[in-house]
């Protein structure tokens, strides 16, 4: 307001303003002139006049501005606007300077010494300026504080964000580093077969260039391997989680660079259960397969090499025992028989080893067909009868009359039953009893064959070891022929190949009862009559 007054003073007042100022002066100074008489002293009167003048000046200024705003003194307003725009900060700085002349001007109209008027004007100016400055300072301080607070908060937020970003980045880098550095190849593809992620090991295994392994690139394009289709195209099987491992053979021009990879695949499904991709963990099993082949070749070679001398010895001993080369005394015959028996053992061991190596190499072929179990059991009993008799052990067959035919490879199942019955003969003391039973399983639609004996039984701790390789449990009599420890392992493999099960009956309280199951033939064409043959 003071500034406006000052500006008004500087610029020549227009007609309206002059009129108002004149009116105001008259109203204010008429009483001031009379005041000399009222207050008695000229000084008191001057002070009164001064205060009235200042108030009047303020009032006049206020009225003027209101008036000018309303009447639209265009020139004044536009000038003022221009000045404000041009030097907005000048107003504050020049307050004191501009205020003083205005007051001085008003006071100059009063009586009294110039020095006094100047001092009073100075004091009033100081007071007003101080008040204004103080107010300004407070506001400034508040504003600064507020501003600083906002800035501080913003900085804090930024720091938190930065920290979070760094942590996330570090996590991401760590995960990427871990995936990148694992020895197993890792490939993640979407359901279109496009690579989402592929680590260094996978690139090495699949011999994929970096450019081909980039995200979004179809793995099929870069590999061009038929076998790889199985890797990159999730199967249509409704599999959840892990699929069975697949083996991929990466062909190469040279046999030596051929690779065999094993891929363990897991489907990635969305919340609706749709397959959206697949994670494959690849491992190079080339060396493993080579070793397997070497082992199989070695076993085959060793078996051949071992059999040749055995066969030569068997024939030589047969000539002796058949008395082709002359008659033998009872003593001589006894030792020839002993040699023959042990050769047979050696031969069986080699056959077992060969069987096992075939089974491990998954090379054993079975030719299952619908067969009646009765004659098979009979055949086993016939071949083991002499041995059982020598121990005074009774062999009993029990085949239920309604026993249906089952699907199996006769030669292989004879091997299994012979093994089970042979084991029983070995472990059953003299005057013991062995029963071979066959019937339709009550629990499932299978043929159940069991061999139970009156032997010492097998301790519960030993049962899990039974079907392992080279396992022999329990006490064997010193005179008995020891086994290879492979018989049950081979029997298990054979029964597994037939989709059956083999186990020790846990409910058997006396002796041991081995049970195995075989799938039934779809349409039983004949039924075996009940038999009870004492061997």
């Amino acid at each position: 307001m003071l500034e406006q007054l000052r500006v008004m003073m500087k610029n020549k007042p227009n007609l309206n303003q002059r009129f108002i100022l004149g009116g105001l002066a008259w109203v204010l100074f008429a009483p001031a002139a009379q005041a000399k008489n009222l207050f008695g002293s000229e000084q008191t009167a001057t002070l009164y006049a001064l205060v009235v003048t200042i108030l009047g000046a303020f009032l006049a200024g206020y009225v003027l501005i209101r008036f000018s705003q309303k009447s639209g003194t265009a020139r004044f307003k536009s000038d003022e606007k221009k000045k404000r725009l041009a030097q907005p900060q000048m107003t504050q700085q020049t307050d004191k300077k501009t205020l003083l002349p205005a007051i001085m001007y008003e006071m100059s109209k009063m009586s009294g010494s110039g020095r006094q008027k100047q001092n009073i004007a100075q004091s009033v100016t100081e007071l007003v300026t101080h008040a204004v400055e103080e107010q300004m300072d407070t506001m400034k301080k508040d504003l600064t504080q507020h501003y600083n607070k906002i800035i501080e908060e913003q900085r804090r937020n930024e720091a938190v964000l930065q920290h979070k970003y760094q942590v996330t980045l570090a996590d991401k880098k760590q995960t990427a580093a871990v995936l990148e550095s694992i020895a197993e190849g890792l490939v993640v593809v979407n359901n279109k077969g496009e690579v989402i992620m592929m680590n260094a090991a996978a690139k090495g295994l699949l011999e994929v260039e970096d450019k081909d392994a980039r995200t979004g690139h179809s793995l099929l394009d870069s590999l061009g391997e038929k076998q790889m289709v199985s890797l990159v195209q999730p199967s249509n099987k409704k599999s959840r989680g892990f699929e069975e491992d697949r083996e991929i053979i990466l062909s190469a021009k040279q046999e030596s660079t051929k690779k065999v990879l094993r891929a363990s695949n897991a489907m990635i499904t969305d919340e609706n259960g749709n397959t959206v991709g697949m994670v494959s963990v690849l491992s190079d099993v080339t060396k493993q397969r080579e070793l397997d082949q070497m082992k199989a070749d070695f076993v085959s070679k060793v078996s051949h090499e071992l059999r040749t001398p055995i066969v030569a010895m068997q024939h030589a001993l047969a000539i002796l025992s058949d008395q082709v080369a002359g008659s033998l005394t009872e003593e001589q015959q006894k030792f020839v028989s002993l040699s023959q028996r042990n050769l047979e053992r050696l031969n069986n061991l080699i056959n077992d080893l060969l069987d096992l190596s075939k089974l491990e190499a998954k090379k054993m072929q079975i030719r299952p067909q619908a067969t009646a179990i009765g004659p098979v059991i009979q055949q086993v009993c016939d071949s083991l009868e002499a041995w059982a008799n020598s121990k005074a052990v009774t062999l009993t067959q029990r085949v239920a009359p309604d026993t249906p035919e089952a699907i199996f490879d006769q030669a292989r199942i004879i091997q299994v039953i012979t093994n089970l019955v042979g084991n029983s003969i070995k472990f059953t003391p003299k005057q013991g009893r062995i029963t071979i039973e066959a019937k339709r399983s009550e629990a499932e639609d299978m043929l159940e064959v069991s061999v139970s004996d009156s032997g010492p039984g097998i301790s519960k701790e030993d049962i899990p070891k039974l079907f392992g390789k080279f396992q022999q449990v329990g006490e064997r009599s010193a005179t008995d022929i020891s086994g290879t420890g492979l018989g049950l392992a081979i029997s298990k493999e054979i029964v597994d190949l037939h989709q059956g099960q083999i186990y020790v009956d846990p409910n058997c309280t006396q002796g041991t009862r081995f049970v195995f199951t075989l799938p039934l033939a779809p349409l039983p064409s004949s039924t075996e009559p009940a038999k009870k043959v004492e061997a």
Binding site: S300, A312, H315, D322, V324
Partner: protein, 131 residues
Amino acid sequence: MAEKHRILIVDDEVDFAESLAYWLEAKGYPVERAENGKEALERIAENPPDVVFMDINMPVMGGIEALKKLRETNKTLPVVMVTAAYQDTEKFMQSKELGISGFFPKSESLNQLGRVLEIALKGIKTGSAGE
């Protein structure tokens, strides 16, 4: 059984051949021996036997190759292939195509050998080498 039928055993496994020869001789057959296919062909050329027992795997010349060469000149001489039971079936088939009187797996008993020999000798009477 014609006692005078001469038999040639071709096998590099001397000990095996020894038992075989002894058993056959004990049954009254004169036996000659060769240790590989090449030697066997020479013996056959010199003085042809009535029946040949031929091993498959032998050094210098194997049984299959010897049989092939023999059949180029002699289509009727009965040959029994002596095999290890574990050998692959491909070789059996190959020798079968070339015309043989039978097989004798080494692990079989010598009594079985007698039966195989009988069949081979019947072939002589009918004049055919094959089964």
